[in-house]
Symmetry: C2
Subunit: 264 residues, 2 copies
Amino acid sequence: MKILKLGGSVITKKDEQTPTINYENLRRIAGEIAESNQSQLVIVHGAGSYGHPYAREYRIGEKIENPQDLNRKMLGFSKIHQSVNELNSLLCEELANQGLPTIPLPPSAFITTRNKRIDKADTIIIHKYLKKGFIPVLYGDVVLDENESIQMAVLSGDQVIKFVAGKLQPERVILATDVDGIYNKNPKKYPEAMLLETISSAEQIETDKGNIVDVTGGMGGKIKELISLLDLGIESEIINANQKGLLKKALKGEKVRGTTIKRK
Amino acid sequence: MKILKLGGSVITKKDEQTPTINYENLRRIAGEIAESNQSQLVIVHGAGSYGHPYAREYRIGEKIENPQDLNRKMLGFSKIHQSVNELNSLLCEELANQGLPTIPLPPSAFITTRNKRIDKADTIIIHKYLKKGFIPVLYGDVVLDENESIQMAVLSGDQVIKFVAGKLQPERVILATDVDGIYNKNPKKYPEAMLLETISSAEQIETDKGNIVDVTGGMGGKIKELISLLDLGIESEIINANQKGLLKKALKGEKVRGTTIKRK
């Protein structure tokens, strides 16, 4: 069984201020997933422009100031969920067009957090759908938080990945992003930046942070979640899904350009 | 706490062969719910034309004939869920426009059946959302079934109502339908048909079936689920939500035209 994370930056136009789908990528990627012919697959996708602008606007996960602020955040919670659910529907529709039977499992319906980390979640339903051959599709969502001062939290697709991987013990986790992987320097600033083929430990990242690895663009959080998977014996890889055909190859188990997170 | 069932015949154009929303009703009803000013409300809605044409096409819940039939049904399951999810989104959007914080809880994500009756479902998440003041919105959906010969089932909104009411012990269950209630004869055939103000037991229905009560239009299943709620001490009423203002009054606890299911 494999877990595929589709970055919000790949399936949406992430920097838009309003929800904007990247249909070209969405269709191509749905096709590549179908062509890779997986027997057991879980998909988790990010929110991109369907989530981040609203999350900023409503400050979900920040301290609730007063009853008015609570009401506003609750309505924001509702709107954010509606928006990411819409993105999820667009993805599932494309996958259905490719003949793939998906079932959305919205984290807001079965996961709660405590201080923004997953606290309770019954994953039996994921097992059941997988066993029948469905593709469960989870996503970055808003969830209830047990901490009374915040009450609600934004749950990133990356945290979902880590949690689900821990429960399902996949043979591999693939992160489909809009970059080639992790570089030793920020490639946008330094043309001589080199792609790191392998990352092995949190220590390596911590040590390198100030020196060579420029952990930008939200990659920091992703890498931390992926490194913690090593303790469970689960390897992962970061690939560029904007490169046509790369995701299909990675899903089929072929070696492709990217960064693999594995023990030395 | 109250539970409101919105019939698929009220919020969709039920007899259409393709999913067709009844926007006029949807907007008015969302307004009436908001104006009734509920502090604790659970909504369950039917599928109407967003579910029934597909359910017939794919014969979900019927015996699986062979692997091809299984594949076809699985894709149908996916499509039906996408369709009812779309209806749910339209409803939640209208409720959000009225300032009501909803959270969809798709049965497919946390309920399974055995021989088409609810088998497992963790309702803690419903409690949690209710406690915070959210309006959980459940609906008629497709779900996994433990019976290996069918594997999947259509779960009616009415069965969801019964199950959820049993768990949440609401003060009242209101069924918003497109008819005035239960008649002693089919009012479409017999102009002298009279509305039954009260129904008290299954025996009454069984006895009356061949004689005076013409249980048509799917009302039979609804009434059975509602009568079984009497054993849990929960009364319910069937009202006509096509009549402007009636739902608002019923939610506010006012006596309105309709059929009440209660002990004598």
